[in-house]
């Protein structure tokens, strides 16, 4: 195998995982330092991708394609495009942050914890890079296992229930995706995603309308569970609340994006007419999710649960943007994926820091934190404002684009969805008010200290990203736009070829 930068970025965490298994159990600090080093090196290597990636070119780049299994023909095929590039960077950025914030909170079995964290990073990066459907499925499942252990071993009281629920939900969804993948293979004789797309666009591979819808659902349900789309979201609050901080961060910031990325990258180009047909009800579910998530978040007494439900709401915007089938909507959806990764990741970090100090997730146990820990409060405020979509911070750009796209598709969608924006301001500001303002109780005053240097190191990159992405989206959006434009074109142009509603000759004549 030729060693390319992309394979290095992918395999560094795996190598780290294997090496971490052999570190001495007695010295947790060695594991911590090792994991920090590996994840930082991976992050630096992934920054190198930025230099190699041609922003003007669009399409899949830096590809590596090596045969893996001869029969059936499975390739280890990875490459990166303008969307997956950012998602990979998001994963590699958050991994060292997760190591930093777990430094003090993970005391038992630290060695395994960091090993699983690195394995998780490997799986997540793999999901975003895989260009072979089979390989994609392998990474999809690989990422499931470490998260299961992270929740189950280092989680809170109801961790076992949450871990098993998480695993079974994902598994149930993904087996149907496997069936759909195999079905595609049998008809296309290849797992190569690019080759299947070629066959579809040339008319070599044609799927009947009903066939296409079933395959679409096979993929979509797996992705919708991961996103999570209402009403398949019920695993998420449990998993988030019970997971350790690093688990919540990775789950919210990166893992949920696997679903959204899957919809964008696979569902739309592969099954365009089924996707367009379903756009109505999927967008409806997304809007229900936006409003429902926000309303439920508002009444949560538990901070983590509040942030978890806010994720349901935010991810609703992503799905809505995708199924608006407009350039702005898709751009906004991708941008919102990244924004949510940064700002919700940061929210979980802060909640984790508060928990580490006060040992409670109940909002009622707080109040007056602003006097006890002013810098922590300021940083949290920035994140809160970012999360509710204040202009000049990142979420504003994404939400604006999504709403614009949704309005162009159906004005009503935008009206309903914008309710979610208002509600998010309500629950987040109210949370901020209850936790940080007011008179500090004894517990808060004695225990809640301000940010320590290591915590600053974890928080600052996220704050910088919030401002940067809000102020100058041009650094990020152009490559995204290239990919989304292509997805739109694929889901548009090829429609007549891909559904056998009319005989081929007739289609040709119509053109």
């Amino acid at each position: 195998m030729t060693v390319t930068l992309l394979t290095v970025v992918l395999f560094l965490p795996l190598a780290g995982f294997l090496a971490a298994l052999f570190l001495p159990r007695r010295s947790p600090d060695a594991s911590r330092r090792f994991a920090l080093a590996v994840s930082l090196v991976t992050f630096l290597a992934s920054l190198g991708l930025l230099a190699w990636f041609d922003r003007g070119a669009g399409g899949e780049q830096l590809s590596t394609d090596v045969p893996w299994i001869a029969s059936p023909n499975i390739h280890f095929a990875i490459s990166v495009n303008g969307v997956s590039l950012w998602l990979v960077l998001l994963s590699t950025l958050l991994a060292p942050i997760c190591v930093l914030i777990s430094w003090r909170s993970i005391r038992t079995r630290a060695k395994e914890f960091y090993a699983f964290l690195l394995l998780l990073e490997f799986g997540l990066i793999g999901v975003f890079l895989a260009q072979d459907l089979f390989l994609f499925y392998v990474f999809w499942e690989v990422s499931l296992v470490p998260m299961y252990f992270l929740i189950g071993i280092w989680g809170h009281d109801r961790r076992i229930y949450a871990a098993v629920k998480f695993f079974l939900y994902t598994m149930a969804g993904s087996v149907l995706m496997l069936a759909a993948i195999v079905y595609l293979y049998i008809h296309a004789h290849t797992f190569s995603y690019a080759a299947i797309l070629n066959q579809l666009s040339s008319g070599e591979l044609r799927l009947g309308a009903e066939e296409q819808m079933l395959l679409f659902l096979g993929f979509f349900v797996a992705f919708a569970i991961k996103v999570p789309l209402f009403p398949l979201h019920t695993w998420l609050p449990d998993a988030h609340v019970e997971a350790p901080v690093a688990g919540s961060v990775m789950l919210a910031s990166v893992m949920l994006k696997m679903g959204a990325y899957g919809i964008l990258h696979f569902c739309l180009p592969l099954f365009p007419s089924a996707a367009r047909q379903s756009a109505g009800w999927i967008a409806t579910l997304a809007i229900v999710g936006i409003i429902y998530g926000a309303l439920v978040a508002m009444v949560q007494p538990n901070m983590k649960k509040l942030v978890a439900y806010s994720s349901v709401s935010h991810l609703g915007f992503v799905v809505l943007g995708i199924f608006s089938f407009t350039q702005q909507g898709l751009d906004g959806a991708v941008y919102q994926m990244l924004n949510h990764g940064i700002s919700t990741g940061a929210l979980f970090v802060f909640v984790g820091l508060l928990y580490e100090r006060r040992h409670s997730l109940e909002i009622a146990d707080y109040g007056g934190v602003a006097t006890a820990a002013p810098w922590l409060s300021t940083a949290f405020l920035v994140t809160t404002l970012a999360s509710i979509g204040l202009p000049a911070l990142n979420n504003f750009v994404g939400e604006f684009l999504v709403l614009q796209g949704a309005a162009a598709a159906h004005f009503k969608w935008a009206v309903w969805a914008s309710l979610g924006v208002i509600l998010s301001a309500c629950y987040m500001l109210w949370l901020y008010q209850r936790v940080f303002y007011g008179v500090a109780g004894d517990e808060v005053r004695s225990r809640v200290s301000d940010l320590r240097p290591r915590e600053w190191a974890a928080v600052i990159p996220l704050l910088i990203m919030m401002v940067w992405m809000g102020v100058y989206s041009q650094s990020f959006l152009p490559p995204v736009g290239k990919v989304t434009a292509q997805v739109l074109a694929q889901s548009d142009v090829n429609v007549p070829y891909r559904v056998e509603t009319r005989p081929r000759a007739e289609v040709a004549r119509a053109r």
Partner: protein
Amino acid sequence: MPVDIVMTGFTGGDLVRFLPEIVLTAMGTLLMVLDPLLGKRRPAAFGHLSLAALVAGIAGAALAYMHGGLAFGGMLRVDAFATFFRVLVMGVGILTVLPSYSFLKRQQAEAGEFHALLLFSIAGQSMMAAANDLIVIFIGLEISSIASYVLAGYLRDDRRSNEAALKYFLLGSFATAFFLYGVAVVYGCTGTVNLTTVRALLATSGSAGGTLMGAAAALMFVGLGFKVSAAPFQMWAPDVYQGAPTPVSAFLSAGPKAAAFAVFLRIFMTAFAPLGRAWEPLMWMAALASMTIGNFAALRQTNLKRMLAYSSIAHAGYVLVALRARSEAGVAATMFYLAVYAFMNIGAFAVVSHISGRGERRQSIDDLAGLGQTQPFTAAMLGIFLLSLIGVPPAAGFFGKFYIFKAALESHLVWLTVLGLLNSAVAAYYYLRLLVAMYFRDPADGTAAVEPLTPAFRVALILPAVGTLALGLVPSWVLDFASKSAALLK
């Protein structure tokens, strides 16, 4: 119609093609002779000897393969297919012998007879794998079964072990009788017991024997269905697996099952291939019933061995899906899956054997609690086997399932595939319970009492774990050979 094959002595070539069985039987007999001589003084020697015999047997199978062809006037057929299963059952033997050292020592059980019986049983299975004649199949089946009945009751002071043996023996003989009855009907209809000839007769005469041949197929299906513990003939499996000594349960779940599936394939893909349409629905229902009954019953088990027994019923169901596909891909998938299953299931049983301790007292899921902390290595090994049984890539179990359901979809079995895959999601739940116990709970008294691993036992765990991962990362090694032999199975 006259019997068309007459035995007129045999040649050297015949003997070479029969080499694995000869080696195993000779060593088995030698062990029985040595038993009173070495007896209690050197129990480990028996293990070494039977390992040597199994390795020699595998070498013999390779040699026989190089001189492949028919033997003993067409009674044996040594081809890639036969060799695959011969090596598989002997590999199962090796994987069974390795953990049995410490088991026999712990239970203070006689080592000589145990290994002798094991070798006889494997010899029978190896014969089934190469048989091309219904009578030879029957003889192989009996050799394998009778030895395994005794093995199931090997701990003769243990009531459960006795119960297991008795149950296995009674129900097993009943099932074998069904099979024999089927053979008789075939002979009555066609005048031959040679599979190739039966196939030729069926293919040329269109509906040769008609109903009667259908009945024969059904009778054999019952007999073999019992041996592979497919629903609705699975009732014996939970009791027998639970009661039998753990290494024997491991062996029963992999060895006889693989051999019975080999026969299944031989009979239904060659001799009865012309009757294919008739047995398809039967196979479809048996596959679905096995998966569903196995998985749903396993959900409620707390005894590890019993749970693995139900899980093995479910896995027989997956394999039946591949058989139902009735294609070369299906045959290859069956063979691959059985190889994978041997590794992961024997591995899982080996861990259970280790933790169950003296008198096999610790068999409950609760006894695994906190194993991840007290014995991280053992727990990690069981973790690999369980993830493979669930079907999480890159463990081999995933590829096994993948090939099976791929074959099924190629044969347009969409519903069976969907139901099977959903079944495997259900199955995840009970395997996860073990992972939960090992990793998410704190150590219990029982877990703390588990003795540390001996270096030999470590090998007995590493070997199947390496197999499980290797077949997942480079499945082509085995799969190519399986595909090649599947193409020959005509």
